[in-house]
């Protein structure tokens, strides 16, 4: 048996993942990943930004989600499964963020990280949807987004969030009713100017 095979690759210095563009991670080479990233990054960012209500946080979590996706043994059975797995990583990162104790004072946050009211990012639909979303609990926002923006089934949402499928049915029913009420009867300050 040649001795090189007994030495782990990182120690031999010729780890294939660092030797060029033909390296593979998460069952993809770099070109396949670039295509997958192009198709998946924007929907994932929209999900993270709208559920967290913080675009700067969504930027960070988006990058971390893709890095973890590549570093992990992601599913290799097609792009749909890969995207679901990516949303699962993003959801876990969001959950970790919510669980983390907050020590940061507002004075310590750089100015460009504070979302401003009336920025160009706040489009017409965000004016309508944003305030309504902000009145819901994070879990409800998450379920509604996955169901109505991404079109995932209850089973898929269960796989992404780690909740039981039966709980999702009930939670989604309540969230949907509450959201419909908020969209149909927005508070006067949230109504679009005529």
């Amino acid at each position: 048996m040649p001795y090189e095979s007994a030495i782990p690759q990182p120690l031999t210095g010729d780890a294939p993942e660092l030797t060029g563009g033909h390296a593979r991670a998460a069952g993809m080479d770099s070109d396949t990943f670039a295509g997958f990233y192009e198709r998946s990054a924007r929907p994932l960012w929209a999900y993270l930004a709208r559920v967290s209500g913080d675009p700067a946080l969504a930027d960070d979590l988006l990058q971390e989600s893709f890095i973890r996706f590549l570093a992990a043994d992601a599913p290799t059975d097609g792009e749909v499964a890969s995207r679901r797995y990516l949303f699962r990583i993003g959801s876990n990162l969001l959950r970790d963020h919510w669980r983390r104790p907050r020590h940061t004072s507002i004075d310590e946050v750089p100015e460009d990280r504070v979302p401003l009211a009336g920025t160009t990012e706040q489009s017409d639909s965000a004016i309508l949807l944003g305030p309504a979303l902000q009145q819901l609990k994070p879990r409800a926002r998450q379920l509604l987004w996955l169901a109505y923006a991404e079109g995932y089934s209850h089973q898929e949402i269960a796989a992404i969030t780690g909740l039981a499928s039966a709980s999702i049915r009930l939670l989604l029913f309540r969230a949907r009713r509450q959201m419909a009420r908020l969209l149909q009867n927005p508070r006067p300050s949230e109504r679009r100017p005529a």
Binding site: A46, R50, P55
Partner: protein, 166 residues
């Protein structure tokens, strides 16, 4: 929480982007009258419009940057995984050495104490030592104190040197 039987039909049209163009007038009328279906329409259209706008507003990092960062993380994780057993072996060998040293010292304690007690006589400085330190245990404590002082000075010198180097 009862579902409407027409909901899958409407959902399918929405998923394919064919609503309301491909919907029959009868289905459109149903959607307007049914609470479940009208909620489905309202939420799906609002969320998808928001998703499209939000997705268009984001500036993405180049995929190559993320690719290489992930490769580096994988490599670091591999190295850490490899180093874990090495660290374990090092800790084990240090513990083994300490136990062996303790056993050796315990077995030789009488001879060691006798040797320590003889040191002042051999070097002729017993008259310099105060009364409590003239016993073997007192001498052992004195030697330990001197060694500790040397170690502390060495540590302080190493720290000062490293500060100067920085």
């Amino acid at each position: 929480m009862t579902a409407c039987s027409r909901e899958p039909e409407i959902r399918s049209l929405l998923d394919r982007g064919h609503w309301p163009a491909a919907a029959s007038p009868e289905l459109t009328a149903h959607a307007a009258a049914c609470t479940r279906c009208s909620q489905l329409l309202l939420l799906t259209q609002a969320f998808r419009a928001d998703r499209t706008r939000a997705a268009a507003s984001v500036r993405l990092e180049a995929p190559g940057v993320l690719w290489w960062r992930a490769q580096l993380r994988r490599r670091n994780a591999d190295l850490q995984r490899l180093q874990r057993p090495l660290l374990g072996a090092q800790i084990f060998s240090v513990l083994l050495s300490l136990v062996a040293a303790a056993i050796f010292l315990a077995s030789q304690s009488k001879a060691t104490l006798a040797w320590i007690a003889a040191v002042p006589h051999v070097l002729h400085f017993e008259s310099l030592l105060p009364e409590p330190l003239q016993s073997p245990l007192g001498l052992a404590a004195l030697i330990a104190g001197i060694l500790a002082l040397i170690a502390a000075v060495a540590k302080a010198l190493a720290y000062a040197t490293s500060e100067t180097r920085d």
